[in-house]
Structures are given as structure tokens and as C-alpha cells.
């Protein structure tokens, strides 16, 4: 009990230990984790559906088919309408704001937990790593589900517009038509959606977690949500 030795330096936790703590936290807060993840899923589903829908539209235009529905808006020379660009940008914004918001909420309600962990000897870096791991996992799984839902939605819409022709010209892989814009293809769109969702979730969570970790524990623990 006699501890007159100088105060030592706190050690770093092994990575496995952080991983275990983060998964346990996700598991027990399953309901809440699902809601946060659903925020990511929705954002990415919206973005990917709009984007894929656009890819499909461009691909079928390239093929010379016309939508059975008259497209009455102006199309640019490249074949992407200003309305489509507008839609993609809007869905991107909705996605960014939605994910950042749900991550921020999820971290804010855990300020007290962050302060408590620091009382028990957690380093700031550990707190950030914990949120990084949790949100990275949530971001990836949420975004993957969202991307699949979004693609499915776009395919259904495409079927309605183009019928079974859709499958003949389905823009699965990247393509570079002679006189058109580079087409990313649906696979790349799904991948980009997953990466974007994960990055947004990680940034949206680690940034507030980092700010909370830097607070003195007394202040972090004061926050009542």
C-alpha cells in the first residue's frame, strides 16, 4: 500500500483488448447501435440508389434505348441531366449530414462514459481508438447494407422504366463509351458507397470522441443527456 515511488507512465492497451472492449460495447448497446447504423444505411441507400439509377439511365441511353417514360428535362451533351447532378449532390449532402448527425448523437450521449473511462486510467488515445473501431465497423456494415438496398431500389426503378432491356445493358462494370462520360458501373458505385459510409462514420464519431477525450474527466462527466 505504501506508494512513494514516482508516478509511472500509463501503458498502451494491446489492440486485441481495445477490439474486445469495442465489440462488447456494440453488442450490449445493440438496439442503440442498430439505430445509429440505420442512419448510415439510409444515407448510403439514398445516395447509391440515385447514383445507380443515373448509371443505368446513362447506360441505356448509350445503348440507344429510350426510357418508356418521356424524359422531358434538358440533357447535357454528356447525357447527364442537370436534374441528375442536382439529385446526386443533394443525396450526397443528405448522406453526409445524416451520418455525421447520427454519429455525433451517439458520441454525445456517451460523454459521461468517456469521462468515467478516463477516471479509471484510459488514455485519450484509447478513447479515440475505441470509437474509431466501433464506428468503423458500424460504418462499413451499415453502408454495405445501404448500398445493396440502394442498388435494389435502382434496379426496380430501372425495370419499371426500361423493362427487361435493363439486364442486357446493365452497367455492372466500369466502361468508357466513345463519346460519353466515363461510367463507373454499379460495382464501383457500391464500393464507393461503402467506403464513403465508413469514412463518414469514422470521422463523424472520432472527431467528437477526440474532443470529449481531451476534456478533463470532470467536465466530460458533467454532461447529462
Amino acid at each position: 500500500m505504501q506508494q512513494r515511488t514516482p508516478i509511472e507512465e500509463q501503458i498502451d492497451l494491446p489492440f486485441v483488448e481495445s477490439l474486445r472492449i469495442s465489440f462488447q460495447s456494440l453488442k450490449i448497446r445493440f438496439g442503440r447501435s442498430i439505430i445509429t447504423t440505420a442512419g448510415i444505411t439510409l444515407g448510403i441507400a439514398f445516395l447509391v440508389s440515385v447514383w445507380t439509377n443515373n448509371e443505368i439511365g446513362v447506360a441505356l441511353q448509350e445503348s440507344g434505348r429510350q426510357s418508356t417514360i418521356n424524359t422531358f428535362e434538358e440533357t447535357t451533351e454528356q447525357g447527364i441531366s442537370t436534374k441528375d447532378i442536382w439529385l446526386i449532390v443533394m443525396s450526397l449532402i443528405v448522406c453526409v449530414v445524416g451520418i455525421a448527425n447520427s454519429m455525433l448523437m451517439a458520441v454525445t450521449e456517451r460523454f459521461r462514459e468517456i469521462g468515467t473511462m478516463k477516471c479509471l486510467g484510459a488514455l485519450d488515445g484509447f478513447v479515440v481508438r475505441l470509437f474509431l473501431l466501433e464506428s468503423g465497423f458500424q460504418g462499413f456494415s451499415g453502408a454495405l447494407i445501404g448500398a445493396l438496398i440502394g442498388t435494389l431500389g435502382a434496379v426496380l426503378l430501372g425495370l419499371k422504366d426500361y423493362g427487361l432491356d435493363l439486364f442486357f445493358y446493365f452497367p455492372l462494370l466500369p466502361a468508357q463509351p466513345e463519346n460519353g462520360p466515363m461510367q463507373l458501373g454499379v460495382i464501383v458505385v457500391i464500393l464507393l458507397g461503402c467506403i464513403l459510409g465508413m469514412i463518414l462514420a469514422v470521422i463523424g464519431s472520432s472527431f467528437p470522441a477526440w474532443r470529449a477525450a481531451k476534456l478533463p474527466p470532470a467536465e466530460a462527466m458533467r454532461t447529462e443527456v
Binding site: 509511472e8 462488447q24 477516471c119
Partner: protein, 244 residues
């Protein structure tokens, strides 16, 4: 020679709220000896929790110094402060502050994980500590499945995880009924007498009076007076069994 564990030198803490500055501590000088049971008494808002935070390195004073074991706290690195919180101090709060995602057992092992103790050793120790506070049969319950008194017992077991020399308790009985509060006080007192842990407890619970070695009365961020045990006993007689 007295063995001083905690020493504060003109500790001032100001909170800035917009253009207002609130002086929560206005120059606190106290010395606490190893093995003492100290109660910080004072009405709500007098600065007890603020002082608790300064002594426990949970916040930094605006002015003045805090020495623990002769070590000036303002000179420690981030890593040293984390190690200090991990090894030297056990914290007990009014609202328990358990991690609700971890079981009683998981809460007690967490400080040991931070201390780098092996899994086998920390499981053993957590079981021993939870047994000691009377929760041997509730080890894997989540905090939400425990009563207030049981949660505070978990918090006590967690505070002792890394064998600290100081236990800091901020109104540990304020959310508990009289009987449960009494049990918690007795438990903390037992640590003090049996294990020689220095206990510093903020309180306005009069039940705390008769277990304290000294009482530091705090008012408006200042030490109003310090009473010794012998002075207290007379007053305890007067207050009788008065509770919350």
C-alpha cells in the same frame, strides 16, 4: 514526521460562464495524512465536488498547487496523470458512474485492463473484490439490473481494483436511503480501518460524521474550519440519529 498524502496550496478554481467568472474555490489549503478518513462537509454549491476534482486530478486548478505523495500534480505528463488515476486513486461518485455496457464484473476489471494486468489475475481479483462488497452472486449482472446500493458497491469494488492508496468519494450516499447509505458508509470505513486506505469523502450526510477522523467544513469555496474527531463526538451526541 507526519506522512502527508494530499496537500493543497492556495487552490483556486474559477469557472467562466460567458462574461461571468464564478470562483468555486477561493484558496484552499489542506493537508491530509495517510490513513485518515476525511469528510468534506458543506452545503450544496460550496465547492466540495470542485475540490474533489482537483485532488483526484479530474480537473486542473486555475491557481495553486495540489501535491499527492509529495508529487506536484501540475508537473505530470498526460500519461502520468492517466497512470495516477489508474493506480493511486479510487473514485466513488454520487451517481455511481458505472459503465452500463459492462457487467459488475466488467466494471471492476476495466481499471485492471488499463493497468495491463493479465486476464486470469484480474478475473480472480474482481471476484474477490465483488465478494468482499457482498455481490458475489450478482457478478455478471449489468448495472441496470442492480439496485442503487448494489451499484454503489460495484463502484466501491471498482475503486479498489488497482489497490489505490486514496479513495475519493463524492457524496456516495446522496442517492441512497438511510439504511443503504449507512451500509455503504460502513463499507468505506472498513476499507479505511482494515486496509489503511486514505478516504476523502465529500458529503452533507450527518451519518458520515462519526466515522470521520477529521471534518473539513467548506463554505463558499473556503475552508471554514477543521474539526478533529474528539470535537466531533460531542456534536454527534447532539445530532443523534438524524438522517437525510
Amino acid at each position: 514526521m507526519n506522512d502527508i498524502v494530499v496537500k493543497t496550496e492556495d487552490v483556486v478554481k474559477e469557472y467562466r460562464m460567458g462574461s461571468n467568472i464564478l470562483r468555486a474555490l477561493d484558496g484552499i489549503n489542506i493537508e491530509i495524512e495517510r490513513g485518515e478518513y476525511i469528510s468534506l462537509m458543506g452545503p450544496s454549491g460550496s465547492g466540495k465536488s470542485t475540490l474533489f476534482n482537483m485532488i483526484g486530478a479530474l480537473d486542473r486548478p486555475t491557481e495553486g498547487q495540489v501535491y499527492i505523495d509529495g508529487q506536484n500534480m501540475s508537473q505530470l505528463s498526460q500519461r502520468q496523470i492517466a497512470a495516477f488515476r489508474c493506480h493511486r486513486v479510487g473514485y466513488i461518485f454520487q451517481s455511481y458512474n458505472l459503465l452500463h455496457v459492462r457487467s459488475a464484473h466488467g466494471n471492476v476489471t476495466l481499471p485492471m485492463i488499463f493497468a495491463g494486468i493479465s486476464e486470469r489475475e484480474r478475473n480472480e481479483r474482481a471476484e474477490k473484490l465483488l465478494d468482499m462488497v457482498g455481490l458475489g452472486d450478482r457478478m455478471y449482472h449489468l448495472p441496470d439490473e442492480l439496485s442503487g446500493g448494489q451499484r454503489q458497491r460495484v463502484a466501491i469494488a471498482r475503486a479498489l481494483a488497482n489497490d489505490p492508496s486514496i479513495v475519493l468519494a463524492d457524496e456516495p450516499t446522496a442517492n441512497l436511503d438511510t439504511i443503504t447509505g449507512r451500509e455503504i458508509i460502513d463499507l468505506i470505513k472498513r476499507l479505511n480501518t482494515e486496509q489503511g486506505v486514505t478516504v476523502i469523502s465529500a458529503t452533507h450526510d450527518l451519518k458520515m460524521l462519526d466515522v470521520s477522523d477529521r471534518i473539513v467544513d467548506i463554505r463558499d469555496g473556503l475552508v471554514e474550519r477543521i474539526r478533529n474527531r474528539d470535537e466531533i463526538e460531542i456534536e454527534v451526541g447532539e445530532v443523534g440519529g438524524e438522517g437525510e
